[in-house]
Symmetry: C2
Subunit: 227 residues, 2 copies
DNA sequence: TTGACCAGTGTACGTCGTACACCTATGCTC
DNA sequence: GAGCATAGGTGTACGACGTACACTGGTCAA
């Protein structure tokens, strides 16, 4: 065992994690468009096909990169003030995304969320629930936050099929998300099957912002107060 | 002149507009990933290189497609209530984007806005100004709307260089945007050069939403009122 | 010693965007 | 009408890309 790296030209073997880290670093350095399997392999001193022993294909590589980035977001701080908790976490997410400028676009291009992303969203929903927001309100609030949570738009929760009971395994791992999915399912007002009423969610956030703007206008708000 | 289409196998010549329309239709039908210059040429009964007589390259094709889509958004309705005007226009933009599901991602991938997009944003800013919002507030409001206006994120206004006076031609064509750029330039609080304080803009929208959520929570808001 | 297993290799295919040289019919000028 | 520039369409070719598939060599359990 001690001669693991004894034989002189013996490379440390690749693994999924090294591949993902290298991919993130390469995307940071040269942009997402310059990230090809061939360039990445070259960076790792390996032939392109070697990568496929560690990721199934490029899509899975991108999924893994997203997970790596989402993993950099700070866990929620403890504290009684839910707004402080959520605010801090979202600003952490923003810092991470600013550090990996390609990430927002990649996240948006994914078709389904990975478990890592689901866990992040679940934890975020948990912060709202802990702050005393109802499951119903939390649901709409999560939609309203939309891209500010991560760069996602509203069809995130369409993952659960159009009918039938939600995956029971989901509830075990992501209790808050399961709860939100449940409220969406049995208040199914305008949509026929399960899933959310995207139009309602859009207007919910839009009106919240427009009302906020009008309120600022009435009080002659100016950004100078911040200086 | 009368024999313009007389000679039997004479194709109607292509033009930029026909190319763009066909590209939009193809993307609508088969998804943006299936849109290649070769597939598009085939759809038009033409050899791939023929397209390059009408668009410089694929990037310009995508720009043109975005313009086509943005051109479908309704003009602002007239009316004294600025919230109604803005709301209606944004919902129109949303309808258009729902009709072209690929568009949001393409818009976000563009590096700089086209004149058509600038005109749309200028007109939107004009609606806020007409509603009595100050130039300062309008500026932040435009940022806060962010992706809800079209799918853009905040670095939109970074187009004007980091220093020097803004393009005088810009003011003529896009007076409201020029006005916003001006307010951003000479209140330059935390950023060194010109441009916006993206961090401030992000927190502005974030806090507006968080405060709105807290207010709903206090009044035990529930979405059932909508039913 | 054998043989299964696994990380890494090499070759090859089909697709992509597009540079470049070429053709050909249109329509302008004399 | 004769001559000719020009715009629109063609054909060939190149260098990327993602990845299927068959392989090789080194490790370790039996």
């Amino acid at each position: 065992m001690s001669r693991q790296e004894a034989t002189h030209t013996h490379r440390i073997p690749l693994n999924r994690d090294r591949v993902l880290r290298a991919a993130v670093a390469l995307a940071d350095a040269t942009g997402i468009d310059a990230l090809s399997m061939r360039r990445l392999a070259q960076e790792l001193g390996v032939v392109p096909m070697a990568l496929y022993k560690h990721v199934a294909n490029k899509e899975e590589l991108l999924d893994g990169m997203v997970d790596t980035v989402v993993g950099e977001i700070d866990p929620p701080a403890a504290g009684p003030d839910w707004q402080r908790v959520v605010r801090g976490r979202i600003l952490s997410a923003r810092r991470v995304l600013l550090h990996h400028p390609w990430a927002a676009r990649v996240i948006e291009s994914r078709t389904g969320p990975t478990p890592t992303v689901l866990a992040y969203l679940d934890s975020m929903a948990g912060s709202f629930r802990d702050g005393g927001l109802s499951a119903d309100l939390t649901h709409h609030v999560m939609h309203a936050m939309g891209s500010r949570l991560l760069g996602f738009s509203q069809e995130l929760f369409a993952t659960s099929g159009p009918s039938g009971p939600p995956d029971p395994g989901l509830a075990a791992h992501y209790p808050h998300i399961a709860e939100l999915a449940a409220t969406a399912a049995h208040d199914g007002s305008s949509t026929v099957g399960g899933g959310c009423d995207d139009q309602f969610e859009f207007e919910f956030a839009l009106d919240l912002l427009l009302d906020g703007f009008e309120s600022l206008r009435r009080q002659s708000w100016t950004s100078a107060r911040k200086a």
